[in-house]
């Protein structure tokens, strides 16, 4: 009976036989080896690589942000420098203009001063000349006239009268001449 049953089982390939246990054992061993020695390092490597990539992306982002910030700062510094330069230039121009104006004013004042001085001088000279003329022309004229007339015109009163008349004539002639 038992032998017949085994034979009948052997003939049906859908019914498992002793091979089943070998296969089960072999497969279990294989799963165990894979679980113990192969899968963990693979998982570890994948995790590590993912982590590394994530880290690199994070670094990249940070570097990008920093670069942006640096660029921003650079730009603002450039703008500041431009403003500063413009301001300095403007200031220099104003200062230059102020200096020129001041110099011009000084020069004008100086010129004015010189002119006035010259006028005063001229006036003084003229006065001195007139005075000297008044003094010397009288003497000279009377001396000359005295020589010509042969009469001493040393009389003070006469002398001065003569001179005054002469001068008055001179003045009137000049005035009419000019007119």
């Amino acid at each position: 009976m038992a032998t017949q049953a085994i034979v009948a089982m052997e003939s049906n390939f859908l019914v498992p036989n002793g091979t089943f246990f070998v296969e089960l054992f072999a497969f279990a061993i294989m799963v165990w080896i894979l679980a113990k020695f192969v899968i963990p390092p693979i998982n570890k490597a994948m995790t590590a690589r993912q982590e590394a990539i994530r880290q690199q992306f994070a670094d990249l982002d940070q570097a990008k942000t920093e670069a942006h910030e640096a660029e921003e700062e650079f730009r603002s510094q450039i703008a500041d420098a431009r403003h500063e330069a413009a301001r300095i230039r403007e200031e220099a121009r104003e200062q230059g203009a102020a200096i020129i104006a001041e110099m011009r004013e000084q020069a004008q004042a100086e010129a004015q001063r010189i002119v006035e001085h010259a006028h005063t001088q001229i006036e003084a000279d003229r006065k001195a000349a007139v005075t000297s003329l008044r003094n010397e022309v009288g003497t000279l004229a009377t001396t000359l006239a005295g020589r010509i007339v042969g009469e001493s015109l040393d009389d003070e009163a006469r002398q001065s009268r003569v001179v005054d008349r002469f001068l008055a004539d001179l003045d009137s002639t000049r005035t009419s001449g000019v007119n």
């Binding site: 085994i6 049906n12 036989n17 091979t19 080896i33 894979l34 899968i39 693979i42 998982n43 994948m46």
Partner: protein, 265 residues
């Protein structure tokens, strides 16, 4: 020897035939076991290759190709598990990754021919033997049940069998039993059928068989990938369902069961 014969009169294609050894009253399909070990060894070699690439000092931090392959699969599984379970579970992820890689390699083993245009393959796909598919499905489902009980407590887990109505108890039990069986038989059926197709194509005279052979093997590779993906994905989904209860009524339970994990769907 004990295999079924196809109803093709002149052919001798035997399906479900295995080289067997009987030890202590138990029969062992030697060819399946050998190809299982080959597929498992390939997966482990790929895995340790990636591990060595990972642990090596790599100054440029550029991952190698094998590393990228594993990282893609593990990353996708992590995402699925996190979406369905709410977190990256330390058992579910290796299980799903192992299921995917192992089923994929096992399915593709069948594509290696012994000789051109011969129906025999160098190694039969171990997934074309129900012993392996049952073993993987049982392992996945036992894991699902343990996970469900751990997440919700024994009472909380078994209570969902009588929800939403106690009348549905038989259906719920049936559903829970159907899950491993469908997992196992879906994979088995697809790959087994692929092997039969290769055998049938092998019957075509050699001057004509190269085109269907080529086309079918390409398609079979695609099927192998899809089946590996489906098995792993469904396992993750079953874990998610076990942790969360069925459908939408886990929202009401969230108040009474404070250990209910947050749900992604």
């Amino acid at each position: 020897m004990n295999g079924l014969l196809l109803p093709l009169a002149t052919t001798n294609i035997e399906i479900g035939k295995h080289t067997t050894v009987t030890v202590g009253g138990m029969t062992f399909n030697v060819d399946t076991i050998i190809s299982t070990f080959v597929a498992g060894a390939i997966v482990l070699i790929l895995g340790f290759w990636a591990r060595s690439a990972l642990t090596k000092k790599n100054p440029s931090h550029v991952p190698t190709k094998i590393q990228l392959l594993w990282e893609t699969i593990v990353g996708e599984v992590n995402k699925q598990v996190e979406d369905n379970l709410g977190r990256v579970h330390p058992f579910v992820v290796p299980l799903a990754v192992a299921l995917f890689f192992f089923i994929l390699i096992a399915n593709w083993l069948e594509l290696l021919p012994t000789e051109i245009n011969h129906d025999l393959h160098l190694l039969p796909a171990p997934t074309a033997d129900t012993n392996l598919t049952y073993a993987m499905a049982i392992m996945a489902m036992v894991g699902v049940w343990i996970y469900g009980i751990r997440e919700k407590g024994a009472r909380g887990y078994f209570r969902h069998f009588i929800e939403p109505f106690p009348v549905l108890l038989p259906l719920n039990i049936l559903e829970e039993l159907t899950k491993p069986i469908t997992l196992a038989l879906r994979l088995f059926g697809n790959i087994f059928a692929g092997g039969i197709m290769l055998a049938l194509i092998g019957l075509i005279p050699f001057y004509a068989s190269w085109l269907p052979n080529l086309v079918w093997k390409l398609f079979d590779m695609f099927i192998g990938g899809i089946q590996a993906f489906i098995f792993a994905l469904l396992t993750v989904l079953y874990f998610g369902m076990a942790g969360a209860g069925h459908g939408e009524h886990e929202e009401h339970e969230a108040d009474s069961h404070d250990n209910t994990p947050e749900l992604a769907h």
